[in-house]
Symmetry: C2
Subunit: 514 residues, 2 copies
């Protein structure tokens, strides 16, 4: 560690994609498995996911939703019913065709030809079809509405080019599915959950997001409208962090979800769906991580504080451990974000330097080291993950205890502000086509170094899909969303599209994306 | 409801299997889906599972385990490595063979022959193989041990005869997997988690269990020893509620899990696994349910108390609702089992009788009804689910609030004691073969009524697998476990096997089972 300047090599500047992989490895978040495109989420990564789940689940329940569980497998015939939907997912799904193995001619096992399914089953790439089919049975009267459900589960989409957390063949998520009596209520629900995602991203993940609808070419297959939250990663690309879909009556029609209203008349219902995935862990890495590894927002950190007793130079190691135990107990008796502070005491038998760096790389907000001299002075050595790893200082124990919660709050706020400032720095209003093309063209010619391009561009847009296609083809840039009011300046006045000269009601957000 | 004596028809006595299905339906726990053998777990059933999860998860974490997530798919070649293991699961697994759909000749979609997997993937029927393969990469030194992991996930075993919760092609569970440096530590872990399951069953599910190892014929495929907890359902059959497996070095050998010890010598490790499933919801139904529906142990009930304002006869319905709100707030401010009391206020627009019976059928521990007269008297009408639905009485509000926690505790204890008494009543020590055969022969000749046989039998057993097989063939009765010390009288003295006259070290537990 002493020879290199940073804990992660390469740095973000040197090779961003490789830096990302190395942070995941150094923080022990996840790894690739022997199954193509499927990841193993390791305990540190899973603990972050558990914290995300708990928070989101509370927000879903506070907005009236209940959890349920629907089958992993979807009959092919269900899947085929909604034309756009099947078109969107048929190219990337895992298909179960047999239900038994038998010894094959070469000694190994083979799928038993006698045990071939009459109808293949699709491993769910999303559950609109199977859930809306159930809804059609559950909804009879207007009294049954609304139905507000969510499920936490695994999802399979057969991706050809995968990347841990960002794009894997299997991932974990939640998917909300709701049925409403009226179009207005369904749209209101779509917006409500869109807002829940935005609040979760900003208030818990410390990831600033831009909210808005997708253009028609970027909508969820089968949706009337898709609302997204888009965040900027440190390579200035966009990451779609959560989506909320107004499905109109598309699924209600194909699955025949009807209710009798107060007058006994049969009426078609309206549905929504919305989802957020383990991809958010990738977003955390790429928003807050630095060249020493992961930086965790305190609200989602599995440990808020790690205490490391430094006993090797001491005559009385037991006393140091006891001193640390007392410190731990005092912290655990203190509430942060409505729950006791999460403290971990690290007494592993390993070199002190490696131990310290392991927690830096894992992104723990506060690190405490206690040696003989600290104990003698009734103090602790404290380091904050939002500052340099070397920037640690002795603090009186009582002072640290009194300030622990406000330090966590400060870190949470500071990393959000930092991410906001970064995004502001690399977001530009552009009214000229040439400038736009230049903005999205990488300047480095070094093939070893990844392109770093401009970032987010706000331009007017005529609404032409031709323009979208051409720009996507030329620059691999797409419209991430049509920003909603109240988020950014210079966005909501009408103007002229710099690409085809058409009229434009407002500016839209362009970026390269994950 | 007024014409029939019980809310569930048929009664347990009339037709136990059908009663079971009807309770699940009446309590709205789950239903069959269009996918053969896969169930939809509805919100009330899933909320019970969430409470089970939270409790078990706390117990796993308190014993040093962390959660992780491993892939849904297992490569066939992994699956084949442990001979007994594959033998045990090959006949009932879902096999993924393709990863893309294309339009077929008849207009529908078909698996794309060009997108056939080189190696089929098995949808996990259990994860020993894929997890132990990962362990082999993670374990290098004795310092890496023990590894104590758990995952919550879905599991697929292609069952031909399915029954909601008890036997379904897909179910939810947790599976713990651990690696240890020594045999002793692995055995200790196996016992520790066996004990955690027993405590969970008795202290939270109020289900009394008998603990002990399985005989070799009933072991988990690939295990050296399987420890089970066995409970008696109200049809006197046994249900295996959780198992903990000492895997010896079987998986460590085939996946090569080795560590270098303190002297640098390479040593093979020892592993365990243990699991509990959504089947426990079925066990709850069959242990505590009565002819009016589900009876929930308070510790797992999604609502502890349901409050029903009876407003239709009142001049001032708002005042009643306000009175109920105040009651709800007071209850929510009271702690039961370490958490605030879970209260639900039911203001649905439906007939009062139907509303009351819906909560009886769902098994909510305490039901409160408040009408004008109750409010005027500053009292509530209270009914307990462990008593008759008609047995409700007015109680002063303050008295109810003061006693709510002790009532919940009393219900929790009482249903456990009731289940213990039931089991004691139908458990018999038998030393004679004829008596044994008679005990397990149903007395009713009515084909419309299911067999009700004796229950649990404790007999001596020589250890002969022949005897086990013959009895299983004759009576569909198996040895559920070899009871461990300290649980039952008349079990641990040596004796003579009534079936083949062989010597027997102790009595074993026989029963029909789910």
């Amino acid at each position: 560690m002493s020879k290199q300047k940073t804990a992660i090599s390469p740095t973000r500047e040197e090779n961003y994609p490789e830096w990302y992989q190395q942070v995941i490895k150094a923080a022990d978040l996840a790894e690739a498995s022997a199954v193509r495109g499927c990841m193993i989420i390791k305990p540190w990564g899973y603990a972050i996911w558990e914290n995300m789940q708990r928070q989101l689940d509370d927000m879903f329940k506070a907005t009236g939703h209940t959890n349920a569980y629907f089958p992993l497998f979807i009959p092919l015939s269900y899947f085929e019913r909604e034309a756009e939907h099947v078109e969107g997912f048929a190219k990337e799904c895992a298909i179960v065709t047999h239900y038994r193995l038998i010894p094959g001619p070469d000694g190994g096992l083979i799928p038993d030809p006698e045990a071939k399914l009459d109808e293949p089953l699709i491993v769910r790439p999303t559950s609109e079809t199977i859930i809306n089919e159930a809804f059609s049975r559950w909804v009879q009267s207007y009294r049954d509405l609304p139905i507000l459900m969510n499920q936490w589960c695994n999802i399979v989409r057969w991706e050809m080019r995968t990347r841990l957390f960002l794009r894997t063949s299997e991932f974990l998520w939640q998917e909300g599915h709701t049925v409403h009596a009226t179009k207005e209520e369904a749209i209101e629900e779509t917006h409500r959950m869109h807002e829940v995602y935005a609040r979760f991203a900003e208030d818990f993940c410390a990831i600033p997001v831009i909210k808005g609808p997708k253009t028609s070419s970027e909508r969820f297959p089968g949706a009337e409208d898709t609302y997204t939250i888009e965040s900027m990663m440190q390579d200035r690309k966009a990451l779609q962090a959560g989506t909320s879909h107004f499905l109109g009556q598309n699924f209600a029609k194909v699955f025949n979800i009807e209710y009798s209203d107060a007058d006994g008349k049969l009426v078609k219902a309206w549905t929504t769906s919305w989802g957020m995935t383990t991809r958010m862990i990738g977003a955390l890495v790429m928003t807050h991580g630095d060249d020493d590894g992961l930086v965790l927002p305190p609200k989602l950190a599995p440990h808020h504080v790690v205490i490391i007793p430094i006993t090797f130079k001491s005559d009385n190691p037991e006393a140091i451990v006891e001193y640390c135990n007392t410190l731990r107990d005092a912290l655990q008796g203190t509430m942060y974000d409505g729950k006791p502070i999460r403290v971990h005491m690290d007494q592993r038998d390993m070199r002190g330097g490696d131990k310290i760096w392991s927690w830096v790389k894992k992104g723990v907000p506060i690190r405490i080291e206690v040696g003989q001299r600290d104990m003698d002075a009734d103090s602790v050595f404290m380091a904050r993950r939002d500052k340099s790893p070397k920037d640690k200082a002795g603090v009186p124990r009582a002072e640290f205890l009194a300030n622990a919660v406000s330090i966590l709050e400060e870190i949470q706020n500071k990393i959000l502000e930092k991410a906001k400032a970064f995004r502001a720095e690399y977001t530009r209003v552009i009214d000229d086509k040439e400038e736009f093309y230049d903005f999205f063209t990488a300047k480095s010619k070094d093939p070893q170094r990844p392109e770093i391009h401009g970032g987010f561009a706000l331009t007017h847009w005529s609404g032409s899909e031709e323009v979208e296609k051409q720009i996507n083809k030329d620059l691999s840039v797409s419209i991430r969303c049509i920003p909603m009011e109240g988020q950014m300046d210079n966005c909501h006045e009408p103007g002229v599209c710099p690409f085809d000269g058409g009229e434009s009601p407002q500016r839209v957000l362009w970026a390269k994306s994950y």
